[in-house]
Symmetry: C2
Subunit: 357 residues, 2 copies
């Protein structure tokens, strides 16, 4: 397996179990952290003003009304109001590549600077060459070395500082903007609308928990403790001066994809969500588990069908499956069968990004 | 190793790693869930009215003041205010036995009822006999069988329902009250006082996460998602009718004792606490990690030195180490050295239980 295919492919749970280090970054995207509060432009009379009127918007409004109106047969006490959101492809752009792979490749020069002997070793030598074609051909073992070198082995605080620094400088090529500008305004409106109705909003991502936590609060208004993601172990130890610190270990603890999502939700939250939002086969179990609860439950699936304003991809679009945010025909059929609401980016969203004005 | 010693001994991290099933219940205590709001009797002018004036009470008040007063050099923004509490021996009585071991033994009849063939098999036969001496002599392998049979293999919702049922009926022998009546009023005041000052309060327990979550909200006002504990894996699957559910697996995921406490805090919260409360060697690393943060940090250690109103135990008392809530001389010395505040139950607490009036 070559990096070329890895870059386009979310790792399956099975694959991740076999390749723990890779799993630490599976399906990740990151961006810069300056884009806070872009979702706070709701019209006072319409908390979902970036949505077109239609069944998706109506389903969200109806769900909130029936779960928060006292006396409603499906009223949910405030303490039990939990809503979970996938991140990549659900809260922000994931196509054509999960951003943390980019982060890992771009972190290589700093890693080599700290350990100069790596400059002449593969795969670091190839990555440093900047030869994209050669990089894409690197075999799996080499990618594992890159991921291990860039994502583990350091103090958790160092990792956070490094990620913050990267987030502050990198820009997405198509839009020439920080990745965090590429969050979906309609989804940020949903986050705010739910929170205004006493829902506790969580990110439940296949991406790296430590990574997403770096910017979740500034970008989505979601504190670190409400981010559930793929996570590696940490190890408690001491510096020479005796002060304690935690090191990120290259050992997978939580694979937060597919069945791992409801399992991660149980571990980290301990309650079944009343609402869940996703966009790919990696979210299937979370949507299913949420919808299977009693009372009113809302499961929504975002279809990327807007090639002009964002992207259109996946077999449900009659397009080749790009392996990023896989939205298969089977998933679409299951949504119909289980009563999940499909959101059409093209039809349901009046505006996609905050900067689209 | 016999059950007699297990019953009196917290399992070390090393031991638990070797005996994953045991670890699922290590150091647990449970009680019944009716005792909510017993801590809400604070005097309006003194949020810590069950405390005597002294260095412990003063340290808590000073910490809150310096971290919440705008303009204070050690002011902490509300979003970052995290306080963590060990449970057994810190929030409620742990002596002479962690209660979840009792739960497991008392669950045996129900397990045998569901699987009658076990009635003639050891160790179930011995447990059913009610012969306490024989039960205490059961070897480790037998205890593992009991724990596996009573704590894993069922739907997470079934487990919750069973624990709730047990909590509603069991009473502590010394006080003839539900275990949840045996929570410490002064500590409940601290929980409320911190929350009133925008601190998010967490339980960080060596006990079973799923177990403590059953009653954390009603007893301590702490929602399930703010309980970090020792946890086993769960497995997502389907019933015959196709509905999904999670099964508790006999496989250790998080050993939340000793170094596992700061590691669990990183995983589940992602921020270093500003305040931490414990009572034993199992809390040492959490107290150390908390105190090592910058700015104002409060680490407190509860000494059980009140044989009359509760218990006095541990070498720091000049008493034999009972292995429950181990408070060693070395731990006491470390508290002095690292600036942790020791709370004397005898001296610092005006009242121990809400019912002591």
């Amino acid at each position: 397996m070559k990096i070329a295919s890895i870059l386009k492919s979310p790792f399956t749970a099975k694959f991740m179990a076999a390749w723990p280090v890779l799993a630490l970054i599976a399906c990740l995207s990151i961006g810069s952290a300056q884009a806070a509060d872009q979702g706070s432009r709701n019209h006072a009379d319409d908390p979902l003003s970036a949505w077109n009127d239609g069944p998706a918007k109506q389903a969200i409004m109806a769900f909130v009304k029936e779960t928060t109106t006292p006396g409603s047969p499906t009223f949910v006490p405030p303490a039990e109001r939990i809503a979970t959101f996938d991140q990549d492809g659900t809260l922000w752009v994931e196509h054509p590549m999960y951003s943390q792979v980019v982060y890992c490749l771009e972190r290589v020069p700093a890693v080599v600077k700290a350990k100069p002997e790596l400059a002449q070793e593969e795969p670091f030598k190839t990555v440093l060459s900047g030869d994209r074609e050669a990089i894409a051909k690197l075999p799996m073992d080499d990618l594992i070395k890159i991921l291990a070198a860039t994502l583990t082995g350091m103090d958790v605080d160092e990792f956070k500082a490094e990620a913050e620094k990267w987030l502050a400088t990198v820009k997405n090529a198509r839009w020439d903007r920080p990745y965090t500008d590429l969050t979906y305004l309609p989804m940020k409106e949903v986050l705010e609308y739910l929170r205004a109705n006493d829902y506790k909003t969580y990110i439940v991502t296949g991406g790296g928990q430590d990574f997403v936590r770096v910017y979740s609060e500034s970008v989505y208004g979601i504190p670190p403790e409400q981010v559930v993601g793929t996570a590696g172990e940490t190890k408690y130890g001491y510096r020479k001066d005796g002060t304690p610190f935690l090191t990120k270990e290259p050992k997978l603890l939580l694979d937060n994809n597919n069945a791992g999502k409801p399992e991660g939700i149980h571990l980290m939250i301990g309650r079944r969500p009343h609402a869940a939002f996703g966009n790919s086969t990696g979210d299937r179990e979370m949507l299913e588990y949420t919808k299977a609860g009693d009372g009113a439950r809302l499961s929504m699936l975002l279809l990327h069908d807007d090639a002009e304003r964002e992207y259109a991809y996946g077999p449900a679009q009659g397009l080749p499956d790009t392996k990023v945010g896989t939205f298969t025909q089977a998933l679409y059929d299951e949504a119909q069968k289980q009563g999940w609401i499909v959101i059409s980016m093209k039809t349901d969203w009046k505006q996609i990004f905050a900067f689209d004005e």
